[in-house]
């Protein structure tokens, strides 16, 4: 289970972006969270991915309450959750080749020997062909870079995947291809998914169920 219980979060304790957000994902379940621009979806996604410390409330991952965030989160929790953001250019180290970008979490966790086999498998799964893996982010398109960011999110075989508007910058065909890659991974590994966004048609087609922002959180101020 991935549980958010009465979470309040934001960038200024006196004026949180949202209050009392609660959401529970069953193992292997895919949930689409729908909300308007600026409501705080991305902030909530970062909390769920253990990347943003909430001001109040509890987050529990497979029964374990989360006590540290970002680099203070225990490795076993950090590696249980993969995350993909809306803008691949903001989340990809421009100095790394796509191969090294995908392998980065393996290196960071001392498992670099797995890199050749994992990167090859994920490149195939996400449709990265030819010499793309040898290029750096500025030498590939947004769609190609987002494929690599998805591969990176899957490289440690997470039990949970958080996708914050993963396809908002992408064309219809690349969107369908990335969603298919996520679903293939989930079918194989039984991973759960929190997909955050505002495209109702997309999330209703993609996820087991969708949740409205208004029914899950209260506005901050």
């Amino acid at each position: 289970m991935l549980e958010l219980d009465a979470v309040t979060a934001g960038y200024d304790r006196r004026a949180p972006v949202f209050r009392a957000a609660s959401l529970t994902l069953a193992p292997g379940e895919s949930v689409g969270l729908l909300g308007p621009s600026g409501c705080g979806k991305s902030t909530l996604a970062r909390v769920a991915a253990l990347l943003h410390r909430p001001d109040a409330g509890r987050v529990t991952v497979d029964g374990e309450p989360v006590r540290g965030w970002r680099h203070r989160a225990p490795r076993r929790l950090r590696t249980a959750i993969g995350v993909v953001f809306q803008q691949p250019r903001l989340s990809a180290d421009p100095r790394l080749t796509l191969h090294d970008l995908i392998a980065e979490p393996l290196r960071a966790t001392g498992r670099r020997t797995e890199a050749p086999e994992r990167v090859a498998a994920l490149a195939a799964a996400t449709g990265l062909t030819g010499d793309l893996l040898t290029r750096r982010p500025h030498e590939v398109s947004d769609g190609q870079l987002q494929r690599a960011c998805l591969a990176r999110a899957l490289v440690l075989r997470p039990r949970w995947l958080v996708c914050d508007e993963m396809t908002a910058m992408l064309d219809a065909s690349t969107t369908a291809a990335l969603v298919a890659a996520v679903e293939e991974y989930r079918a194989e590994h039984g991973a759960g998914l929190l997909a955050v966004g505002h495209d109702r048609v997309l999330l209703e087609r993609w996820c087991d169920r969708t949740v409205e922002w208004a029914g899950c959180a209260e506005p901050g101020t």
Partner: protein, 340 residues
């Protein structure tokens, strides 16, 4: 010496001409190539031709990296130094101004008389386009003074009116760009683009990152500015936004316009005629939600034949030769046009 102005091209072709109105923008055989290290070339745009009239919206759609934004940069004279252009892109003369070929005009002409005044740009990443250290109010006021010569006493009201036109909440005018969500930054950038009252608006991904309601509002707003008599070229990967706003659609693949057609026929019946365009529409979550297999080709290494052939369900031996653009489509085996 490069000429600053040229005569509008008298010859127009039926394939690119919608009606009888004189075009605001006339693009002919526009190509852009980037010179890379080691003598390599990237063919970002090849042979693009289209006309755009006042009161009309053309949506340029296609996959990420297909050359859409390069085409827009070429029209604005904002290509990097290693770019080479061919063809022409003429913006008509209005109210005593001369026609200008955007590809050959000097930077001085473009900066002084074109950008902001004759072409309003609604940029792809508004947050990056806005000046980070100045509030939205200050940026609108500065643009109003520069382009409209609004007197100081009239500025407060003019700023509010400019914000209103793009549905930017006047209560947030004193915010800095980084304090705005994606949708609000988009509206601030749109408000700035509308200030100069340019006859041609160029919107690069104007709805990216916005929620559906905002996409609709932005699209409707842009449509309203078009109906007011502006010409609008909108570049987008968002087919739903294109459907809502466009009169005509140009589909780009691997740097070429492969289909140019009426929006109603494209999104409704009989649908697109080019196999790539059909695949792109079918990939929508409200349709088949099935991706086109494979990836677009590298623009530095295009095949000699049709660039879509490796992914095309209809490809035959004939497709080893590049198809010409004729009758609104570039394909050897296009769907039959609708019968009258």
């Amino acid at each position: 010496m490069k000429p600053d102005t040229v005569k509008p091209d008298a010859a127009t072709s039926d394939a690119v001409r919608p009606g009888a109105v004189a075009p605001v923008l006339s693009v002919r055989e526009l190509s852009v190539r980037f010179r890379m290290r080691g003598g390599r070339h990237i063919a970002a745009v090849t042979g693009a031709s289209f006309d755009l009239a006042a009161g009309e919206c053309l949506a340029l759609v296609g996959e990420s990296g297909c050359g859409k934004s390069v085409l827009a940069s070429a029209l604005l004279g904002l290509l990097p130094g290693n770019a080479q252009t061919a063809g022409s892109a003429v913006i008509e003369g209005t109210g005593g101004t001369d026609a200008v070929d955007l590809l050959t005009a000097s930077e001085r002409t473009l900066a002084r008389t074109v950008r902001g005044r004759r072409i309003g740009l609604i940029p792809q990443s508004p947050a990056a386009h806005l000046t980070p250290v100045r509030t939205i109010r200050a940026q609108l006021a500065e643009t109003l003074r520069a382009l409209d010569r609004t007197p100081r006493s009239a500025l407060p009201a003019a700023v509010t009116a400019a914000a209103d036109r793009a549905a930017f909440p006047t209560g947030l005018l004193d915010r800095y760009p980084h304090e705005l969500s994606g949708g609000l930054a988009q509206r601030a950038a749109t408000a700035l683009a509308l200030v100069g009252d340019a006859p041609l608006l160029l919107a690069d991904e104007p709805t990216t990152g916005l929620d559906r309601d905002l996409v609709h509002r932005t699209a409707d707003e842009l449509r309203r500015h078009t109906d007011d008599g502006r010409a609008l070229l909108t570049i987008t990967h968002d087919l739903a936004a294109a459907e809502r706003i466009a009169d005509r659609v140009a589909v780009m693949y691997a740097g070429r316009i492969v289909e140019l057609t009426d929006a109603a026929a494209f999104f409704g019946a009989p649908g697109p005629r080019h196999p790539y365009a059909r695949g792109l529409l079918a990939a929508l979550p409200e349709r088949d939600f099935r991706p086109i297999p494979g990836l677009p080709p590298e623009l530095g290494d295009l095949p000699t034949g049709c660039a879509f052939a490796p992914r095309c369900p209809r490809a035959t031996d004939r497709c080893a030769t590049a198809p010409d653009f004729a009758d609104g489509v570039a394909c050897h085996h296009a769907e039959e046009p609708a019968r009258a």
